[in-house]
Symmetry: C2
């Protein structure tokens, strides 16, 4: 078989990891990049956080958001998850020839609104146009700079006994986009696309012993939690009943053959914290609209090293693997 | 006529300006963005420079470079032109399904080498994959952060009598890429793709009164100089004989129906400086390989307000307009 890039390489799962570990890290090696996570902490007179994402979602508009709003929220959230106060964004457009000007106007207006709502400024940018059939409407890259306010976050700080919190319902974004794409029923189901910087700041300022924050985008809750325990001496046990999932999301996932735990979220965060702080932290989260449906969904344990497992209401327990292929291509 | 995006909007010329001024600036307005130029200066404990570019060049490999090297040099140069010391890059890939893995390896290796040579670190990144026919091999976005070392540069500082310097031959990159694309003769002609941060630092540290630095990429020397005098009380007069252009570039431009002054450069800078400092600055530039062919190519004058003009050896004088359409689509 020819060694070519397949859609799986963009899934956020195993193939994406392979691309990063075997190709990108060796070629670009430096300590800041080795920190991994979705952003880098940089030494300056003031410590900085720096992150980037390209957005290739299709369709460009979906219930609850559009590619412009997504491009702001995605990067703001990556900065927030690193303990950074998001301040500045760049915005670079790769536009396909033939895109209606009015479509671009709507997208850029939405991007501007999302930036204002998140309290960040788009300070630099770039525009390229490619021929018809060499793009798909518009792709947007944003990079973001934040000031590091809460150093020391990362999966390295996780220890057995810690609790795993999810800030709301799982799988809303991925399911909403897939439904919009399929042309099937819509309307009820909306993407959760939103900026999480205020929620993260409230949590990090609460005094709770937070080990790591991460927004489970591509690959969903199950893939992100796998990354936390992969190769470690502990595992994570989830309680299926404790994980909030909307009824509409559950129904849509059955229809589409998807699992909400592998569906992308764009307005939710996972948090691992010390067990004694979990309840207080949950109260802090629930006090904000972005965290209204927050729940403790599992705990870190030495019983299943390296594995993410799910306990079902009937007493079963199954392993949740890292996403292997492209469950949902071009979801963000 | 339907109001759609055409390739002209990506030319770096008039339509690109329209897109920026009518659509992007109003939607994203803030003081740092209003500075324009190719980067933003940000307030922090230490002042930062921030810039981004997406690279969509075709073909991916061309004599003298490739999209990976270009993606590093382009952003490093934008930071250097702002008076910044380039420090950190992000790198985001939008890969088309079906790209040979080996092609991506070569590109990323080249990108890594270029970063090492320029003295910058790639510290964060992202990877997306789109379906066949929704991209073209790979598009690369880089964003860069630098520390501001030389504040106050910008076209606003230009005054009548100032000299215009070009750091070397005009049009090498655009012509080399177009030739590579056409499948016509190749070999002799190479892109000038290179990092200019050391040249810029040497110039800015020399004590010369430098008003503005800018790398004339898309739209070439003529478009960049038009941006300097557009709407101002002064114009710029160029001496055609003083502008260094390689014989191969001149020949290729005749063959392809191009003008070297509108062809992209990726390893050249334009500098406007005080008249009394021009000769000393030229010596500083010529002492480095990147500035070996530097020349004084014109001066700022009140005779032709708002216009860029070119004096020919036969005594003629013509106006050089800003690039109107897409002379060279997907050149960077």
């Amino acid at each position: 078989m020819e060694n070519i890039i397949t859609l799986d390489y963009g899934s956020g799962g195993k193939k994406t990891s392979r691309l990063i570990e075997e190709l990108l890290l060796p070629a670009l090696d430096n300590p800041a990049l080795r920190q991994l996570g979705d952003g880098a902490v940089l030494d300056g007179a003031e410590k900085l956080v720096f992150s980037t994402d390209s957005f290739v979602v299709t369709p460009l508009f979906f219930p609850g958001g559009d590619i412009g709003k997504l491009a702001v929220c995605g990067t703001v959230n990556d900065l927030a998850m690193c303990g950074g106060e998001a301040k500045f964004l760049s915005c670079s457009l790769i536009i396909e020839e033939g895109l209606p000007y009015e479509t671009l106007e709507r997208i850029v207006a939405s991007l501007g609104r999302a930036a204002a709502e998140a309290g960040v400024q788009v300070v630099t940018g770039d525009t390229k146009v490619v021929e018809r059939g060499r793009g798909d409407g518009v792709y947007i890259n944003t990079a973001g700079i934040g000031y590091l306010r809460h150093p020391g976050l990362g999966p390295g700080a996780i220890r057995p006994g810690d609790r795993v919190l999810l800030s709301g319902t799982a799988g809303d974004h991925g399911t909403a986009v897939m439904l919009a794409r399929s042309g099937l029923m819509q309307g009820e189901l909306k993407s959760d696309c939103t900026a999480l910087n205020r929620l993260a700041e409230a949590m990090l300022s609460s005094g709770a012993a937070i080990r790591v924050l991460r927004d489970p985008t591509r690959g969903g809750v199950a893939t992100t939690l796998n990354e936390f325990c992969e190769g470690r001496t502990f595992g994570i046990e989830l309680e299926e009943e404790a994980i909030p999932v909307r009824g509409e999301v559950r129904a849509a996932c059955e229809l589409l053959g998807l699992d909400p735990l592998y569906c992308a979220n764009e307005g939710k965060l996972l948090c691992v914290c010390a067990p004694e702080d979990a309840e207080a932290l949950l109260a802090v989260m629930r006090a904000l609209p972005e965290g209204r449906d927050a729940a403790v969904i599992g705990e870190v344990t030495e019983r299943t090293p390296g594995k993410l497992t799910l306990s079902t209401p009937l007493g079963g327990r199954r392993i949740l693997q890292k996403l292997a292929g492209a469950q949902l291509p071009r979801i963000c």
